[in-house]
Structures are given as C-alpha cells and as structure tokens.
C-alpha cells in the first residue's frame, strides 16, 4: 500500500497483517481436473454482474400491471444504452445458470460433495434452485405474452403438487390467476427477497469452501499434488477467465439483444408453440412424457411427483453415496451422475428441436 498514513491508521485499529496472512495461507492443489475449480468463480462473477445490471434497470422499471411493459420499452428505446444493459442482464442470467449447471455437474462427477463437504453441496444446490426462480421471476417482469404464459404454466404446475400445491400456487400468484398481484410479488422476490437469500447463501457457501479447502478427486487423492497459493496465482487465472467471460456476455448482448414480445393479455389465448427458458425445457419434455391419466390418477400430479422425487434424489446424493464418504470408489453414483447429465442434455435438445 502506498499510503503509509492510511495503512498506519488501519493497522492501529485492525489486524491487517492477520487478514493478509489468511489470504496468503490459502493453497489450491494443481492437477489435470483443476479447471473445474474455476467454474464456481465464474458463476460468482456472473452473479455480481447480474446484481450491478439489475440495480441499473431497477432505477427505471415500474412494477405495475399498466406500466411494466411500457417501462421496459422505454428502457430499451429511450434510455441511452438502456437496450445494452437490459440485454446484458438477460445474457448474464443465461450464462449464470449455464455455469451453475456446469459447476453442479463438475462437482457431482468429481465427487466433491463427499464427506465432509455435504453442506457445500446443499448450499450450492439451494443456490441453483434460487437462481432458477430468479430467472422465472425476472421473466415475468417483462410482462409480455410469452412470459405471462410461461408463468401461468409454471405456477399451474406447482399447483398440481399434492396437499401443498394449492397453497404454493396461491402464494406465488397472489390471486386465482396470473395478474398484477403476481407481477408485484415476483418483483418483490426478484429485487428484494431472492437477492438477500442469495447473498447469505453465497457467503455461507464461500465460507464452507474456505473452511474445508479445495476438494481433490478420489482418483488423485493418493497422489502427491503440487499446491499453489490462491493469491496471486489462482486469483490471476480467475481474473483472466472472468475477463473472457465478460467479453463473451457483452458480445452476446450486442449481437443478440432479446426481442420484446406483445404485451400480456390475460384474456387472449396463449401463443402457439410457446417454449419456456432453456433451463426449463428438460422439465417440460419430461412432463410431456406422461399421459393425462395413469391408473385412474391425474397424470400431471404423478409427473410432478416423479420429477420432484428425481430432484430430491439428486439433492440427497452426498448422503446416499456411502462409499465415497468412506473414501472408496463408487462407480454407481458416477453412472447416476452421467445419466442425469445425459438426460438433461438430451431432453433440453429435444425441447429445442420439437
């Protein structure tokens, strides 16, 4: 630091050397799979980008059923660089969720969830769920016919859940259908509730990662690995990757700004061949596999229960994979992970093409 007076002032009050010591004492193992370590950092960077662009958009967005759509058009057409920041927010969200999935499957296939890191997995998984809800709630704020239909389908699907479905649906919609009440609720979720929960969970997730240190894949655990200091070696590599990711997001935002659809009309029929965001496609395709009625029971309810069961199983993998916890090889869970990944990719591709 080149300000000796400021340094002295801070050192007099805080243990600066101690904090520096903590930062310098963190080491990261180097091995052939260490590229996966950077996916978490990229996701964090994209979250920061989303917070910044979201704050800018919040200055001009009007969360009212009569003005929401108009305010979006004004942001895009009248504000200087408004189109760019809206597009950046859109592509930042897509990339954040993409990297969350990459980070999730990387963690799964490297068995980084195994004992004692179960809570790191749990906080990360909850963050993924919150991010998807971030996407859905942000989508409705556009208040165009596609967003309206997507939220109607999503909240309707939640309503098919037995016992608590009705409550969840009513809680999300705030009314019997998707209305201005829903818009206001989703706005509150998107700009206040979810960011607070996300910040707390990111803090806890990072704290747990610092506490446990970086996980090494079981196949490399017995090898003597070289360790490099996090600061500055890994930090500099992180910065380089973040810069490239920023470049990609900005390029996508400039070359492919998202279109603005027709204003939502609750009385109009849903538009034809409507598709949700790409991260919901595998769910939609799965629901389509089920018939309307199975053994006299509602097919949609059975589909929702099956999907929920599969997601719950995925969430509980660290607690079910006992062999990994004991430090043994567990090929069964590797294959389960590969199956989930292939299923996700294939169903998303089918959803795109159909």
């Amino acid at each position: 630091m080149n300000c000796p007076r400021l340094r002295d002032w801070l050192e007099e009050r805080y243990d600066i050397e101690g904090i520096k010591g903590i930062a310098l004492s963190k080491f990261v193992p180097e091995h052939r799979h260490d590229i996966w370590y950077y996916t978490g950092g990229v996701t964090l960077f994209l979250f920061i980008l989303q917070f910044l662009t979201g704050m800018l958009l919040a200055f001009y967005y009007v969360p009212h059923v009569d003005f929401a759509y108009k305010s979006i058009i004004e942001i895009v057409t009248k504000l200087r660089m408004g189109w760019f920041f809206k597009s950046l927010h859109h592509w930042g969200a897509q990339m954040a969720i993409l990297f969350l999935f990459v980070h999730l499957f990387g963690t799964l296939l490297m068995k980084s969830y195994r004992k004692p890191r179960e809570l790191v997995w749990v906080t990360g998984f909850v963050l993924l769920g919150i991010s998807i809800f971030f996407g859905l709630s942000g989508y409705l704020l556009l208040w165009d016919e596609r967003a309206f239909a997507a939220v109607r389908v999503a909240t309707g699907g939640a309503g098919a859940f037995p016992v608590v479905g009705g409550f969840i649906k009513a809680f999300l919609r705030g009314s019997i259908d998707v209305t201005g009440e829903t818009l206001l609720r989703f706005y509150a979720f998107h700009v206040a509730i979810l960011p607070l929960v996300t910040l707390a969970l990111i803090g806890l997730h990072l704290l747990l990662v610092q506490f446990h240190g970086m996980s090494v894949p079981p196949s490399l655990e017995k090898e003597k690995l070289r360790e490099v200091p996090f600061f500055p070696n890994v930090f500099y590599k992180d910065l380089m990757i973040w810069l490239v990711v920023l470049g990609v997001v900005v390029t996508l935002a400039v070359l492919f700004p998202p279109e603005i659809g027709v204003k939502a009309d609750p009385l109009a029929p849903p538009p034809e061949n409507i598709k949700p965001e790409w991260y919901f496609l595998f769910l939609l395709q799965t629901l389509k596999l089920f018939p309307g009625s199975i053994l006299g029971m509602n097919g949609e309810t059975i589909a929702i229960l099956t999907v929920s069961g599969a997601i719950l199983f995925f969430f509980l993998i660290p607690f079910l994979d006992r062999r990994s916890a004991r430090g043994e090889r567990s090929p069964l869970f590797t294959w389960i992970g590969v199956f989930y990944l292939i299923y996700f990719l294939v169903m998303t591709a089918v959803g795109f093409l159909s």
């Binding site: 058009i73 895009v76 057409t77 189109w83 760019f84 597009s87 016919e145 200091p229 500055p232 070696n233 500099y236 590599k237 910065l239 380089m240 810069l243 490239v244 920023l246 470049g247 900005v250 390029t251 400039v254 700004p257 998202p258 279109e259 603005i260 027709v262 109009a268 538009p271």
Partner: protein, 100 residues
Amino acid sequence: MWTGHLQKRMKRLLNRTRLAAAAATATLLLWTTPFGAAAAEKIAVFPETPYDGYIVYESLIVFWAAIIGLVVILRMKLKEIERTQSLGADREDKDAPLLE
C-alpha cells in the same frame, strides 16, 4: 338535352372518383393497420441508425482489444510471479538484516 348528358357524365365521373378514393383509403388503412398481434410493430432493441450501429460494433472491437491486452498483461505477470516463486525469492527471510 346536351346539358343533361353532361350532368350524367359528371355524375358518373364523380361516382368513379369516390369509388377510387374509397378503395385507396381502404388499401392505405389495410397497410397501416396491424392484423392482430402477429402484425404488431416490432420494437427496436438495437440502435436503428447505421451510424449508431457502427459505433456499437466499433466499441465492441475496442472492448475485445482491451480484454486481450489485459489477459496478456496478467499472463506475463503470472509467469513472472511463478518464476520468482520457483527461485524461492518470494519467501521472507526472517534473519535478513534490516536497512534503516
């Protein structure tokens, strides 16, 4: 009789003009009125004038040049740090004499 014939012709011409005007108006209306939602005007989500578009693309190229420059600088810095670390010069010598 001649005047009556002229009146008839004038009336016919007027009717034809009215018909043509009505057809033109209808065509104009059909052109400008959207057919429901599908024909709704597309909202411009990118600067419309060629000059503004050019500025945006030019800025994107400059932005990428800056990113590549920064990545190269960081890479060079990292190489230098790794070289220093491999020599062991980054470790603090506790017994080193202090220059006042």
